[in-house]
Amino acid sequence: MITLESIDKKYNLGQMTVTALDEVSLTIGEGEYVAIMGPSGSGKSTLLNIIGILDNPTGGRYLLEGHNITNLPDKERARIRNKHFGFVFQSFNLFPELSAMENVMLPMSYAGVSFSQRKARAAELLDWIGLSHRLHHLPTMMSGGEQQRVAIARALANEPDLILADEPTGNLPTEKGEEILQTLEDLNKQGVTIVMVTHNDAQARRAKRLIQLQDGKLHGEVA
């Protein structure tokens, strides 16, 4: 599905150059469940953003389904993120002025789904994730675990092939985190590819594949 070939990410800070990713080569197949671990600053988020085409590598090639997408125009990249990827963040990143429904509907509006269909699908997703009683609540009126579930529903809005989760349980108490992890695992069982950054060993071990990053380098892989 995704092939990274010698991906570099360097930041030029005047005199100094920070190397966030150093010659990372990686292949992620359809339906995989990959965990990424590593110390703080090792480049995990950078790698996830590059996989999600939110960020551009400074070197190397990115092949999506065999196509080099490194030089695609913004509009195409936006379309791929919208239709094929779903993002889940550590700090939920819901829009505080939008209700749970509206947050979930948002990605569908970029996909050109009609209003009534968006509404129906959002309600269905929130129901599936156990928040049918929270449809019109604003994020500020919900607990962390509920907010993260809304975020997952939002990531699923356009039926993505790949979910990119950056420490999705990092801001949650253990049992709430466990619920989120369960959800992601359920999705994986349904065929959705999952790439998840985590600091939690136990969680990482539950993934089918574990990638270790250190100083921007691929340090090891446990399959």
Binding site: N49, L54, D55, A78, R81, F95, E97, L106, Y110
Partner: protein, 483 residues
């Protein structure tokens, strides 16, 4: 994303920060209000200037006798011994030697007192009571009262056998002093006054020479203007302004009727087209030719004093040339420095240039105000965008393109901008109306004002584009890293 969604999100985010949003709206409103008001002030003053300068008096060179302006109130004696030149409508021939001059005319103002049958009857009664005869009427009568107002030269009147202006005044001031009328005189004309009586006792009048009507571009709607022959023969004919024509007699009709003005019976031969100016209420009678050689030397002073000769030019840009050529003509005929030649346009232009400079300063301040307001607005919007940079990252992660993000931020700015602009438009209409009322008493909402408002809208919207552009260009990964 569709616009409806953008608008909804924008409105939510505007509502979330009410104070900031209101500040933005008022900033834009004041900027636009100030600019539009400044522009309307400019456009008003330009229009006023053009209107004024296109009027006949500002395409003219005016020639007067030297003393006329300054010594109006001096007793007659010193002027008589002065022995300076006199000018009269005869001198309008100067036009023939000055090619830039289009028309030359005399227009002397005066009040015309209308007499009715009833008034004559009153006179007759009084004379019977007094037992005295009527004062001698006609050429023998000479008024030696205070000098008359401009435009009513008594010698001229006398020589023409009229004397109405001077006599009217004499009558007014001295009450019982006998007017230059008598029984025998009236008995002859009483019949012609037999019809409907005038209902106006006094009306503004003008003695004009032939070209006056052409110079002022006046045409009759009924009847005809004076002919050269009528003026040369001192015919007692009258042309009325449209309003006066409609009100002079109780039954509205006036063409062809006769009006007794002191002791002259004037026949109304023409009615002017409506002009919307004071001309509509004015009665015109011919400026009469004077044989200057028949006037005694001491009386000649009076002629020149009242008379101003007007020379209109084809092209206002050539007023100076016309002025110097006329000056030469008059020095050749009367000697150096005998007449005062003025170009009213020059003074008005100088005054208007000063106003224009003042107005430009005001506009400059207004535009500066708009720019400051706009920059501030732009700044606040930018700050807003930067605070929401995290949102940019999230939106992009959810599939928004740069264009989508721009659209969202732009619509939010546009909503604020348009609210401010609408408010500003209301403010500017109000300000300009108040301003114009203060200046002239008449509000002019000109096309320029709308252009000004449009320009202000353009400036404001273009400044709201910048923050939106800036926001949309934030790299997604950087935006997401921002907490």
């Amino acid at each position: 994303m569709n616009i409806g969604e953008d608008v909804r999100m924008s409105l939510r985010s505007i509502r979330k920060r009410p104070v900031e949003s209101l500040l933005l709206i008022f900033g834009i409103a004041l900027g636009i209000g100030a600019t539009a008001a400044g522009i309307s002030l400019i456009s008003y003053s330009v229009k006023a200037k053009n209107d004024l300068l296109s009027q006949v008096p500002y395409r003219e060179v005016v020639v007067r006798v030297r003393e006329s302006a300054e010594d109006m109130d001096l007793p007659a004696a010193p002027q008589i011994s002065d022995g300076s030149a006199f000018i009269s409508s005869r001198d309008l021939v100067a036009k023939d030697d000055v090619p830039d001059v289009e028309y030359a005319y005399v227009a002397d103002r005066m009040e015309l007192r209308v007499m009715t049958q009833a008034m004559i009857a009153q006179f007759e009664n009084r004379q019977l009571q007094d037992g005295g005869g009527a004062a001698p009427a006609g050429d023998g009568f000479m008024m030696m009262g205070p000098p008359p107002d401009e435009g009513a030269p008594p010698s001229e009147d006398r020589s023409a056998g009229a004397g109405e202006g001077a006599a009217a005044r004499g009558n007014e001031r001295e009450g019982p002093a006998a007017p230059p009328v008598g029984e025998d005189f009236f008995s002859g004309i009483l019949e012609s006054l037999d019809g409907p009586q005038p209902v106006i006792e006094q009306m503004p009048g003008m003695r004009v020479s032939l070209e006056y009507f052409s110079a002022w571009n006046l045409n009759v709607s009924e009847g005809s203007l004076f002919t050269a022959g009528e003026i040369e023969q001192n015919a007692q004919v009258m042309v009325l302004g449209s309003e006066l024509a409609a009100t002079l007699f109780e039954d509205d009709a006036s063409l062809g009727r006769e009006v007794l003005i002191m002791r002259n019976l004037y026949k109304i031969v023409g009615i002017l087209e409506t002009t919307g100016t004071s001309i509509d209420g004015t009665a015109f009678i011919p400026q009469q030719y004077i044989d200057i050689d028949r006037i005694p030397q001491f009386a000649r002073q009076f002629i020149g004093r009242g008379t101003a000769l007007h020379f209109t030019v084809y092209d206002p840009d050539r007023l100076d040339e016309a002025k110097s050529q006329l000056a030469e003509w008059f020095s050749q005929n009367y000697g150096e420095g005998q007449v005062v030649i003025t170009v009213p346009r020059v003074e008005v232009e100088a005054a208007q240039d000063r106003t224009a400079r003042l107005v430009s300063v005001i506009l400059f301040l207004a535009v500066a105000g708009l720019l400051i307001a706009s920059v501030n607005v732009s700044n606040i919007l930018l700050g807003r965008a930067m605070r929401k940079r995290k949102n940019v990252g999230i939106l992009k992660a959810l599939g928004a393109s740069i264009k989508d993000v721009f659209g969202l931020f732009f619509i939010e700015a546009l909503i604020l901008g348009v609210s401010g602009a609408l408010l500003g438009t209301a403010i500017s209409l109000l300000i300009s109306k108040l301003m114009l009322l203060a200046i002239s008493g008449g509000a002019v909402v000109s096309a320029m004002l709308f252009l000004g408002i449009l320009a202000a809208w353009a400036i404001t919207t273009s400044l709201t584009v910048i923050p939106a552009l800036q926001a949309s260009r934030i790299p997604a990964a950087d935006a997401l890293r921002y907490e």
